[in-house]
Amino acid sequence: MFDIVRITVKGIFRDRVFHGILMAALLLPLIPSISQLSMRQVTELSVTLSLSLISFILLLLAVFLGGTSLWKDMERRYTFSVLSLPITRTTYLLGRFFGVALFLLITAAVLGFVASVVVTIVAGNFPPDRPVVWNNIYLCVLFDAFKYILLLAVAVLFSTVSTSFFLPIFGTISAFLVGSASQQVYDYVHSSSGQVLSPLVRQAATALYYVLPNFSAFDLKVNAIYGVPLSTGGIVLTVCYLVVYAAVLLSVAAIIFSKREMK
């Protein structure tokens, strides 16, 4: 599997889509000047902008690399030459997944480093009221990467059932939008104002909340921007959630991919 991870990462580094998306990272150094436009909380603003930009870049990478990886291999008929090697389909699928996942982590690390330089510069010029809590910022970037690794598993699953480019890309984007909103919907449904809804709607919303991936659990932006302390329990739980949920998605994907005919 390691060989497949390696050629996957190599492939991404040589991919045009990746080069295009990385152009967006060139916006990071512009953040100090943009942040200065705000009169107050310049440092907080620069942290917010940096984290949002990183998040956006990781989102694009997860959707496009995840949604197209297996699909493209089948479309371009690479699967004939590769799946006839003495490896199982599951090995191939996991190799592809971990390759992209590793790449997301590398990108997050590099962008996180650039962002920390940016924020340091801003904080030097505009000392914030509260000191910057670096650990929270780093954790926020890491959990952002985790979030998109989970989204990547969704994308890989879509990729195994699809014969076109459409489903993996748009399916993944929809899953992301719904999965990001599900916490809010759940909270609303269970709030006092949500009681006006019919019980059926409330049950359906609750069921969806448990079935769909919950991406908002990975969002630590508030903690990073305002230095709100993190709960260790919550972090451990989120990591467990990632592992279990991704394992389920990948198992289903592996079963489908193993049965799929390469014609």
Partner: protein, 290 residues
């Protein structure tokens, strides 16, 4: 142990709107080690379907097959196999050298052996100059040769080639034939599909002819050649010293020889006139269709 054993293999494709294509019907076939087997049939006969099933790319609807004694349902069956897909395509962002290194690693070659084999194969296939260029810059013939590199890199016991000569120029075709004969000399099994009769005639030990998903006949190429003799060309020197040529049908050979002797002539050359493999092939196709 046979290199390839296929028994009762069938494949039905389910198409759109409940259409079904019986691409392969109850195919049984064995191919021995050290044998070159040609799988001959017109386009759409079911050759690629057979080969993809052997390689685990598609699931058979019925029947089973083993390669070197291992059932094809296990990825282990592919350990000792080199496979060349029809019109192959490879990760175009890798160079031939990187790709062969990847393939060799999946076959478990250690790095030292891999580097040695990679150099040999790239040189043999005349890809050495281009080995560091990404494959997206390769011509069709070069891509086909990378495919042969994938077949050869781990020195497999069984080579399964789907239309290996297609897309190659005459030099490339000659190279493929040379490689196949070399593999045979080293005791390897080569199973290849083709729709070109001349390919079979020049290298194969046996040929299987497939038509509309059904295996029609399996013959030794040698046998077709001898059985196919329909008559002889005789070159004669008569008593005066002049030479003449004479055609005699197969059954009349001994009579003709006797009469030549009686007239004091001398037979200097007897050449058999064969029905070619092509005639044999066309007879089968016509026989089944007509």
């Amino acid at each position: 142990m046979n290199a390839i054993e296929i028994s009762g293999l069938s494949k039905t494709f389910k198409g759109k709107r409940f259409t079904r294509v019986e691409a392969l019907k109850n195919l049984s076939l064995t191919v021995g080690q050290g044998e070159i087997f040609g799988f001959l049939g017109p386009n759409g006969a079911g050759k690629s379907t057979t080969i993809k099933t052997l390689m685990g790319l598609i699931e058979p609807s019925a029947g089973s097959a083993c390669i070197m004694g291992i059932d094809i349902s296990s990825p282990k069956a592919r350990r000792r196999v080199g496979y060349l897909p029809e019109n192959p395509a490879f990760y175009d962002y890798l160079s031939a050298e990187e790709y062969l290194a990847f393939v060799g690693t999946t076959f478990g070659l250690d790095p030292e052996l891999l580097a040695k084999r990679s150099e040999e194969v790239l040189k043999q296939l005349e890809l050495w100059e281009a080995r560091k260029r990404p494959m997206r810059s390769y011509s069709k013939g070069m891509v086909q040769r990378v495919g042969l590199g994938q077949v050869l890199i781990h020195d497999p016991d069984v080579c399964i080639l789907d239309e290996p000569m297609s897309g190659l120029d005459p030099v490339g075709r000659a190279l493929v034939k040379e490689i196949m004969l070399d593999l045979k000399k080293r005791g390897k099994c080569v199973f290849f599909s083709t729709h070109i009769i001349a390919d079979v005639e020049s290298v194969c030990d046996r040929v299987g002819i497939i038509l509309k998903g059904e295996l029609q006949s399996v013959e030794r190429v040698e046998d077709i050649m001898t059985r196919g003799v329909v008559g002889y060309y005789l070159t004669l020197r008569d008593s005066g010293g002049g030479t003449t040529e004479l055609y005699v049908p197969k059954d009349e050979l001994s009579g003709a020889l006797a009469s030549v002797r009686d007239q004091g002539g001398e037979v200097t050359l007897i050449e058999p006139r064969r029905k070619s493999l092509e005639d044999f092939f066309l007879d089968i196709i016509k026989g089944r269709n007509g």
